[in-house]
């Protein structure tokens, strides 16, 4: 009797989970494996008559010798490192600011959430317009009506790359701030009171109490931001199309170009696999670090 109740429960649970499993297995996990399979073939979308030719690892060998792919790889890493660094730094600063109680805190928090909520395509167009050579707000602020000095920011490699980082940092620092804020809110006030009684300065309180206690929250914010930064696509697609001269080309954009603009389903899939492997390894690394963090904080 007990056993049949238990198995009834299992059956019910399975029934509840099956729809979710179906979606995730067919449209997320199976495609990953399918990408690996495709990457071992030569398939051209526009030429279905060619069919699929098995080519072994030759796509991967080409990838390693493809200067644009390597450029996109290094661009992606630089983008991830720089944007994540600034997002966590600004996120921490904003979190510390809005953690305090003050009048109008709700409205301030809502305003900070606006960049997060705006569609990325909209924020990309917005920043593209701000950096515009003729009508842009940046030129207006820097040079006023001295239009001879107006710069075409997005036409110069360094500025174009920086522009994309600025747009990303603007949009996502608030998300980092919210995650860090959640970490701040669980620190009991008594700790600060005790520190003050012992004569600790504000800076000491920050480095000895706040920072160590929000480390897990910082790590989680770092994890989420890193993974998300690897996906950068909308900004590049709208603002620069990877240019000028591939200076803002990134992996997700390059893969998209290869598969859907050039129709190289097989070769493009090697980029897909590469991106998956890189992000998978990084997320494993983070999760292990986090696990160690939590075990230490419980001990």
């Amino acid at each position: 009797m007990q056993l049949s109740l238990r198995s009834k429960e299992r059956l019910f649970a399975l029934g509840l989970l099956i729809p979710t499993f179906t979606f995730v297995l067919i449209f997320a996990f199976y495609p990953i494996l399918y990408s690996v399979y495709l990457s071992l073939h030569r398939i051209i979308i526009g030429l279905p008559a060619l069919g699929k030719t098995f080519v072994g690892l030759s796509n991967y060998r080409s990838l390693l010798r493809d200067p644009i792919a390597l450029k996109a790889l290094s661009n992606t890493f630089i983008f991830v490192a720089v944007s994540t660094f600034f997002e966590i730094l600004l996120g921490l600063a904003i979190a510390l600011l809005i953690h305090k109680r003050f009048r109008g805190r709700g409205i301030v928090r809502a305003s900070i959430l606006i960049p997060w909520a705006i569609p990325t395509v909209v924020s990309s167009q917005m920043w593209r317009y701000i950096f515009n050579d003729k009508y842009g707000l940046l030129n207006l602020i820097l040079y006023g009506s001295d239009i001879a000095r107006y710069k075409a920011w997005l036409a110069e490699p360094f500025y174009a790359f920086s522009a994309i980082i600025v747009a990303d940092v603007w949009k996502t620092s608030s998300f980092a701030a919210l995650l860090i804020l959640a970490g701040l809110q669980v620190i009991p006030d008594e700790l600060y009171d005790a520190a003050r009684v012992d004569g600790a300065t504000g800076w000491q309180q920050f480095t000895r109490i706040t920072l160590p206690l929000i480390r897990p929250a910082l790590l989680i914010a770092l994890l989420f931001r890193t993974m998300d930064a690897f996906r950068v696509f909308d900004l590049v697609f709208v603002m620069t199309q990877g240019g000028p001269a591939d200076s803002t080309n990134v992996l997700q954009f390059y893969g998209y170009k290869k598969i859907f603009a050039e129709g190289l389903m097989g070769y493009g899939s090697t980029v897909s696999v590469l991106v998956f492997l890189v992000t998978f390894l990084i997320s494993l690394l983070y999760i292990r670090t986090l696990g160690r963090q939590f075990r230490r904080s419980e001990a």
Partner: protein
């Protein structure tokens, strides 16, 4: 004296953060209200005449309302399906005795993290073989897949926080699991359902990558695709782009200002409490 300076400093910093957050978008609102002459002025005109010309033009010449309709259909359908499935899965993971819960939640987390490009080609091929490219279901299916992790995590967290006693009492009174889910848990978890729904809706409303691949036919394109691809004859139609951007963003601004607390709690529930 020192506390006055501190207060001033605090006020200045907060104002800086708020202004930086809002200014770029306000500049686009400003742009959308310019007239044709004002928008091509160099240096740019700061105060617009408040003309609605570009909204009119975006609707008539760029089919803005059509994109809007597609976005409403796709984001609405995604939200309904994802939330329904997340309630089921969340209840099972929070309340029923099953094995490998950690593994299931971890696998879902993985799905929410990997870049879209790593599944884009195959998803496109699957949809193509089903004849679902350029169809609503063709976009809703990947969106449901990609928002399920978030939905399931939030619902699991909310169900976990509800007291177990209520349910036990109901079971003793002869309620089955299904009855207890529908009659006790669901009404109590309404705030969780609502939070998850807002976040899923925002995701589906904003998504661009899959929309770009799957909806190549203008008839089915959503707002982000429309806004990214607006083309003028000689120059970019900045006025229409700005007007369409304001239309695409306004619903989200309203959601954020009304449900700020829920969004904050939902984001940290999804990310921190796992």
């Amino acid at each position: 004296m020192k506390s006055v300076i501190n207060k001033m400093l605090f006020f200045i910093l907060i104002s800086m953060v708020v202004i930086t957050s809002l200014l770029p978008f306000l500049w686009f609102v400003d742009t959308s209200l310019k007239s044709q002459i004002e928008i091509t002025a160099i240096p740019p005109v700061i105060i617009p005449s408040g003309s609605l010309h570009f909204y009119y033009s975006a609707i008539i010449r760029y089919d803005l309302l059509h994109y809007l309709k597609n976005s409403v259909v796709v984001a609405g359908a995604t939200t309904i399906i994802t939330i329904l499935l997340s309630i089921f899965a969340g209840y099972a993971l929070a309340r029923l005795r099953i094995r490998h819960k950690g593994l299931i939640l971890g696998a879902l987390l993985l799905v929410s993290m990997f870049p879209q490009i790593s599944i884009a080609g195959p998803v496109w091929r699957i949809l193509q073989s089903l004849g679902w490219l350029n169809s609503y279901q063709g976009l809703v299916i990947p969106y449901v897949t990609l928002t399920l992790p978030l939905g399931v995590w939030i619902m699991t967290t909310f169900f976990n926080e509800l007291p177990r006693e209520l349910e036990k009492a109901a079971m003793i009174d002869g309620c089955s699991h299904i009855q207890s889910l529908l009659k006790i848990m669901l009404p109590l978890s309404a705030p969780g359902v609502f939070t998850a729904a807002i976040l899923v809706f925002i995701y589906a409303w904003n998504e661009f990558f899959f929309a770009l691949l799957i909806m190549t036919n203008r008839q089915y394109q959503t707002l982000p695709v429309g806004i990214a691809l607006f083309q003028g004859q000689y120059t970019l139609p900045w006025g229409e782009i700005a007007a369409a951007s304001v239309v695409a963003t306004l619903p989200l601004v309203l959601l954020v200002f009304v449900f700020q607390k829920r969004i904050v709690s939902g984001l940290s529930a999804g990310a921190l409490k796992g």
